[in-house]
């Protein structure tokens, strides 16, 4: 009787403990307000599936092509690119890091920043004046640019990054701080010799900023649709919208056109589509995915074969033992 009571008590305690753990887990998921990274190590392939050069020139620009936006043979249909996500780290950036790694990505602009460093716009001064810090996940990738033939063994860029700010509202803080810095610099460098500085440091609208980061290294935290929504809404973009995992940016070139960027389960870009006002696709590259599924199938087949062998051996052994008896 005593034993029975004890076992019932143990069962009740076990069920209670399990329930507490499960309730805790699910309630944590349900009330999650922060975004998390879903980056995964591996290689993703892309292919240019559509490029209508005539439509591009009449709609986007007469004197540019997609290779001005993306490196390599991005203007050739069938060209492929790939990137390998090697890992990621959680880091905290200050304003100077943001300037050099997100906003002033052009080497000439960086040189100008270095030059004005001697006039009080160095790393220490800028970080002292703009004290916001940004926690983010920085994905480290090696990238092979678009190529119409076979990929080279070595990558084109080993320092490519995919950046996921922990809080998408931080993009608004970055833009505000940057525009404030620009106004200070514009006021400080008034002479005609300072034209280069003024040309580099110009006020940026939310739409321009979103376009710049979208073309470079923007990646999304998960849940992706919520992240995109919060990003666009907090920036206050006038010409950007969202639909699920899709970020839609309206732009004006030779005519109005739309750029649709779709983000996959890892939060990275999986499709880039340029459409004219009528919705006709002018340019498109899409992710060809990765080859992980092939490996899963092979491993599945190997495990299956091994299981069959083990079962067969066990069966033979049992049969043999029965015969002996």
């Amino acid at each position: 009787m005593l034993k029975n009571n004890k076992s019932v008590r143990i069962r009740i305690i076990s069920i209670l403990t399990l329930s507490i753990i499960l309730i805790g887990t699910f309630s944590t998921v349900a009330t999650a307000t922060t975004y998390y990274s879903t980056l995964a190590k591996g290689t993703e392939f892309f292919q240019v599936s559509t490029f209508n050069e005539t439509a591009w020139q009449t709609t986007v620009s007469t004197n540019s092509n997609p290779s001005d936006w993306f490196e390599g043979d991005a203007n050739i249909t069938g060209a492929q690119s790939k990137f390998t996500t090697m890992g990621w780290t959680s880091v905290t950036w200050e304003m100077y890091d943001v300037l050099t790694l997100i906003i002033l990505t052009d080497i000439d602009a960086l040189n100008v920043l270095m030059t004005i460093g001697q006039f009080g716009y160095n790393e220490t001064e800028i970080n002292d004046n703009y004290t916001n810090t940004y926690s983010l996940i920085s994905g480290i990738r090696s990238e092979w640019y678009f190529i119409s033939g076979a990929f080279n063994e070595s990558y084109n860029s080993a320092t490519d990054m995919s950046i996921i700010l922990s809080n998408p509202i931080d993009y608004k803080k970055i833009l505000d701080d940057y525009n404030d810095l620009v106004s200070v610099i514009q006021a400080d460098f008034l002479g005609p010799a300072d034209a280069t500085v003024k040309a580099v440091f110009q006020n940026m609208t939310a739409d321009d900023f979103l376009w710049q980061i979208a073309l470079n290294n923007l990646a999304m935290g998960s849940p992706i649709s919520m992240y995109i929504e919060e990003l666009v809404d907090s920036l206050g973009c006038e010409n950007a919208s969202y639909s699920g995992n899709k970020l839609i940016i309206e732009r004006i070139g030779e005519a109005n056109y739309t750029v649709e960027l779709t983000y996959g389960v890892q939060g990275t870009l999986t499709s880039f589509v340029v459409k004219d006002a009528t919705g006709t696709i002018i340019y498109q590259f899409i992710s060809m995915g990765n080859t992980n599924w092939i490996v899963y199938i092979i491993v599945g087949v190997i495990v299956g074969c091994l299981s069959v062998v083990v079962v067969y051996i066990a069966y033979k052994k049992r049969k043999f033992n029965k015969l002996i008896r």
């Binding site: 980056l39 190590k41 591996g42 290689t43 993703e44 392939f45 790939k82 390998t84 996500t85 090697m86 890992g87 990621w88 780290t89 480290i140 090696s142 063994e153 070595s154 990558y155 080993a158 990765n290 080859t291 992980n292 092939i294 490996v295 092979i298 491993v299």
Partner: protein
């Protein structure tokens, strides 16, 4: 036609004892094979999956070649040597340890017995190497989306030649050693410590001399064959004050293969001579 049939029949009766010994050896050593196969899989799994997939800050190598290189270095440095020592150490000495080598009129020719045993063990060890390569190749495919190329197969071929060379070397020791344990210990000591010490001494005193005598050095070819273009120069110089240390990375393909074949032939010839003399 009858003559041809007779020749075939003759060959069949010559080869039959070897196949019997071969099959017997496979049955005898299958537990070792399973153990080494599991070990190979676990090592590749730990190095390629646990290390990278579970730790985000542990960065994948930049390219698939670097990834394969790091995996294959461990294979040539440890797995192949240990496997060769454990599989081949008893190939001859057990015959004398258990007195079967002294039988004057054996039912099976002793050389055919040894050949059958040698081929049996070799097949098992090649199986272990294949499992290592397949697992590594699958992980390479998983991370880099690149199927295996010809260089990877070339590396596998070199690994097999290396295995044959090391197994011949161990067989040579097995031919004059008294017990399996002594053979394992002495060959592991020579292959790990002996060659390494010789390489260090040569590096210090004769930096210009390439250590082509070393079977360990020749094994570097297994991973360096993947590097395109092939390393040139094949050494790195590190200068500290007035002292330059030259580290040789890899032999050329021709020299490496020649060294391995010389090891293989010399060891097998010596082993057969010693085995013959030991029976008398």
């Amino acid at each position: 036609m009858e003559k041809v049939e007779q020749v075939f029949e003759g060959v069949y009766y010559e080869v039959k004892p070897i196949t019997h010994a071969f099959v017997f050896e496979l049955k005898q050593q299958w537990k070792k094979f399973v153990s080494f196969s599991i070990l190979s899989f676990v090592i590749v799994f730990l190095m390629s999956f646990v290390m990278y997939a579970l730790e985000p800050t542990s960065l994948l190598p930049d390219t698939q070649t670097d990834f394969l290189n790091s995996g294959l270095t461990f294979l040539s440095m440890f797995i192949l040597i240990f496997a060769a020592c454990f599989f081949f150490s008893g190939i001859i000495c057990t015959e004398f340890d258990k007195k079967t080598g002294y039988i004057i009129f054996p039912k099976i020719n002793k050389f055919k017995l040894i050949i059958g045993k040698y081929i049996g063990n070799l097949m098992l060890i090649i199986g272990v190497v294949a499992i290592y390569y397949i697992t590594l190749g699958l992980f390479c495919w998983y991370y880099y989306g690149v199927s295996v190329n010809l260089l990877f197969l070339a590396s596998f071929a070199i690994a097999i030649v290396y295995v044959i060379a090391v197994s011949s070397f161990v067989t040579l020791f097995s031919s004059f050693m008294k017990s399996v344990n002594m053979t394992i210990i002495s060959t592991i000591l020579i292959l790990f410590i002996g060659f390494t010490m010789a390489d260090q001494l040569i590096t210090v005193f004769l930096p210009d001399v390439e250590p082509i005598y070393s079977i360990q050095y020749a094994s570097n070819l297994i991973s360096s064959i993947l590097t395109q273009p092939f390393p040139d120069p094949r050494y790195t110089d590190i200068t500290m004050r007035d002292f330059t240390v030259r580290t040789w990375i890899t032999p050329t393909i021709e020299i490496g293969m020649t060294v391995l074949v010389i090891y293989m032939i010399t060891s097998l010839i010596l082993a057969s001579i010693i085995f013959k003399r030991r029976q008398l």
